[in-house]
Symmetry: C2
């Protein structure tokens, strides 16, 4: 099954996108939700994966930036 991570920062755009998208996913898909505001130690991991802004969904190494909530640089 795919490796799926949802990176967000608790912003309104992030919460809205999460509610919109995650409910549509196949129940078999396990999504790890990572709050970069609370887990700043994982910002480097997100950047390495290619995440430039949140919210973003990373699927098997492919990054989907969903709308624009905040730039990664602003979370540091």
């Amino acid at each position: 099954m795919s490796n799926v991570r949802y990176y967000h920062a608790g912003c309104p755009v992030c919460v809205s996108a999460e509610q919109t998208l995650l409910g549509l996913l196949d129940p078999k898909v396990q999504v790890e939700v990572v709050h970069l505001g609370e887990q700043s130690s994982r910002i480097a991991e997100a950047e390495k994966a290619g995440v430039e802004s949140v919210p973003a969904l990373v699927v098997d190494g492919q990054v989907l930036h969903l709308n624009f909530g905040a730039a990664i640089a602003d979370l540091k």
Copy 2:
């Protein structure tokens, strides 16, 4: 069930996002895929829904812009 439309224009970013995302969705979710390059008559509908660029997923009136392939204005 949710009303889901995927608007795209056949661009590389659009195709990549479609492959990444649509395969993760619940099989019960029916997605209408709309190619605005081929169905330019539906550009107005997309704009009315709030789509500013493609690819975009519209879920029950909520727009998720996925990365950036092309601006709607450039499809006209």
